[in-house]
């Protein structure tokens, strides 16, 4: 959309400062362009509005609606930036240089403010108010979530998730990365793709995938169609309702997340393992180190920082996990976690205060990582 308009864009900038006599046509053109570009912003906003009306009307043809939505949504944004840039170039040169950065960065900052900064502050305030949000109750909601059994259970489970899942993902991912490194190239890449594949699957999809692993039928209700129970049955055991076994059901749910996230750990760690200098490894081997010693004393220390990064990233993902629990058990049978509990409090019980307090707990745990990220960014900037 913007490309064909660009040559005129250059014309404007070149013709303006030179202002040679006889360029009257050109300057007329410039003025037309100026007026048009001034009209683009309201026009785009109007376009958005009418599209909105159009999309609200559910009687229209679905496909046309979707095409219109995509064209307007995508094209409109580009057009808006273009128009704003044109408007800014109407300003005197000095003002232009001062204003343009805000045209470029402004929309992003406004969106961030609206969707992340304001809601975060608002949620913190909500967490200090009662369920309807009218009275200020201090830390009462926090007292509730740290004393009542249902919330303690959610907190306990979330901590177990956060400890178990990242560690297993990193360990298994590192084992796979190290082993794959010794394979012939083609085998390695197909092997890695296989482990990596579940990362493209949604948590909801992954939960459905594991339905056919964990499925349970009480005896007398037909053949077991869940893989685990059919194995149990083949060994002569009684079928187990895996997702209702107290405490252990949490681990069975974690398996689903591990299945999807190990590929992530593996890919990142694999590229780090390949970055370990070959000559150091060779030197160690010549000195008589066996494979385990090379791995333990050279590979792991060399890639330690990558391990920490991968571990942190999976930790954040795990801490915020909602879909898997919501779709499989819905938090019943002692499987509730903080992120899931928060949504339940908010949507099912309209208990905003407690819901917000749980959300704040989610934030507090990732805050150290946030601080470290910002601090590291500042150091990078200082050395730039």
């Amino acid at each position: 959309m913007t490309t064909p308009l660009l040559p005129t864009d250059e014309d404007v900038e070149v013709s303006h400062p030179t202002g040679e006599p006889g360029s009257r046509d050109n300057s007329l053109q410039v003025w037309v362009l100026r007026i048009l570009s001034a009209l683009v912003v309201p026009a785009v906003l109007g376009l958005f509005f009418f599209t909105f009306q159009f999309l609200q009307d559910s009687s229209r043809n679905k496909v046309i609606q979707i095409v219109v939505a995509i064209v307007v949504g995508v094209g409109g944004v580009w057009l808006l930036y273009w128009a704003m840039d044109r408007l800014v170039s109407l300003l005197p040169e000095r003002a232009e240089a001062g204003v343009r950065p805000f045209v470029f960065a402004g929309p992003a900052l406004v969106i961030l403010g609206f969707y992340l900064v304001y809601p975060t502050i608002d949620t913190i305030i909500t967490s200090l108010r009662d369920s309807s949000g009218e009275e200020f109750v201090g830390f009462a909601n926090y007292v509730v979530i740290f004393t009542e059994a249902i919330y303690i259970e959610a907190l306990r489970n979330s901590f177990i998730w956060a400890i178990v899942v990242p560690v297993i993902c990193v360990v298994v991912g590192l084992v796979i990365a190290t082993l794959a490194d010794r394979m012939p190239r083609k085998t390695e890449s197909s092997f890695k793709s296989l482990i990596f594949l579940p990362l493209a699957v949604s948590f909801v999809g992954a939960s459905v995938v594991f339905t056919f692993i964990y499925n349970f039928r009480p005896e007398g209700f037909g053949e077991q169609i869940g893989l685990l129970n059919s194995i149990v049955a083949a060994w002569g055991g009684d079928p187990v309702d895996w997702l209702r076994v107290p405490f252990w059901n949490n681990l069975f749910l974690m398996v689903i997340l591990i299945w999807t996230q190990t590929g992530f750990a593996m890919v990142i760690l694999s590229s780090a393992v390949k970055g370990v200098p070959e000559d150091i490894v060779e030197a160690a081997r010549i000195d008589g180190a066996n494979e385990w010693q090379v791995f333990r004393r050279i590979t792991v220390p060399t890639i330690a920082s990558t391990i920490v990064v991968v571990w942190t990233t999976i930790l954040i993902t795990t801490w915020k996990v909602y879909d898997i629990v919501a779709v499989t058990t819905g938090g019943r049978d002692g499987t509730s976690v903080v992120a899931e509990r928060m949504v339940t409090e908010f949507f099912t019980f309209q208990n905003n205060g407690v819901g917000a307090a749980l959300a704040v707990v989610l934030l507090i745990v990732v805050t150290p990582i946030l601080v470290i990220n910002v601090r590291r960014f500042r150091q990078q900037e200082a050395t730039r």
Binding site: D9, I66, A69, F102, A105, F191, V209, T211
Partner: protein
């Protein structure tokens, strides 16, 4: 998917013929471990895929692994489940997912690219502080924002609309996008930009003609990440779209609803799940290189 099913075989057949790494007894444990891991990772997905092509009664009657006894019997295989799920809302949900995902990828990339360019190459007051804020926002949990935004959306009456979801996804995707793009754009040589300026190009021209084409790898990397993120998202689509207007439910919401129906819908689950996964898998295999690059860059955040 077929490519996946063939992979373990490659593991076994390639090994002895490869001249460089001939099979030795000492390597046996390594290969054994790899085969075990591969099988463990493959089985869940394989089960789902096989099940989706079985007759509904058969899915309910016995386990999917029983098909291996009757694999060449044409009566084993059917597309019936696919026809049923597409008819029962998954066709509609697939279209909705597309309508949600495409703008939710393109809008944040556009907004982030402009912002990243300003952060990397323009001088303005508060630049460092504002960028530090962006870095901080990368890890803020989505859950923090649900209650206030839903309240505003309800007041504005835009729950259950596509633009509402696009903007929400834009907001949640922006911090990482700005961070990745700014670091990449900032590493481009300044001589390039200076020479373009000398040639009389304005900032907008430099941005669209020079910076954007040069940033293709990082744009593709983020696009792949964001695509998978939005397509696979359940919570945002449920809260802002699915609850308010069930006709606009996306594939994950439709699949979760199907799962919620329990044993009765069991025979439809595999096909439904496959429909919800097919596009991300295609994107994933086609753009795996970019995706890995995005992951590598994204994980080294901060």
């Amino acid at each position: 998917m077929t490519a996946v099913a063939e992979k373990p075989q490659t593991v076994e057949t390639k090994r002895p013929v490869d001249p460089n790494q001939s099979f030795t007894a000492s390597r046996f444990p390594i290969y054994l471990t790899c085969v075990i891991i591969a099988v463990l990772w493959l089985i869940p997905a394989l089960g789902l895929m096989v099940s989706s092509f079985r007759a509904p009664q058969a899915i309910r009657a016995n386990g999917w692994w029983t098909v291996f006894g009757e694999i060449f019997n044409s009566a084993t295989w059917t597309l019936e489940n696919y026809a049923t799920v597409l008819d029962q809302g998954f066709g509609n949900a697939f279209a909705n997912s597309l309508a949600v995902t495409i703008p939710s990828v393109v809008i944040p990339i556009t907004v982030a690219a402009f912002a990243a360019y300003a952060f990397a190459w323009m001088d303005f007051p508060g630049r460092t502080i504002l960028f530090a804020l962006v870095v901080a926002l990368i890890v803020v949990p989505l859950q923090m924002t649900l209650i206030p935004i839903l309240r505003i959306y309800t007041d504005l009456d835009i729950t259950g609309t596509f633009p509402g979801v696009w903007l929400a996804h834009t907001g949640f995707g922006l911090p990482l996008a700005i961070y990745l793009l700014r670091n990449y754009m900032g590493s481009l040589p300044s001589s390039l930009i200076e020479s373009a300026q000398i040639d009389g190009a304005g900032p907008y021209t430099i941005f669209t003609r020079l910076i954007i084409p040069l940033s293709t790898p990082v744009l593709a990397a983020f696009a792949t990440l964001q695509f998978l993120w939005v397509w696979n998202d359940y919570l945002v689509a449920l809260v802002f779209l699915g609850v308010a207007d069930p006709t606009k439910e996306v594939v994950t919401v439709a699949l979760a609803a199907l799962k919620g129906r329990g044993e009765g819908a069991l025979s439809l689950l595999p096909a439904g799940a496959m429909v919800s996964m097919i596009l991300p898998l295609v994107v994933f295999f086609a753009l795996q290189r970019y995706f890995v690059r995005g992951l590598t860059a994204g994980s080294v955040k901060g």
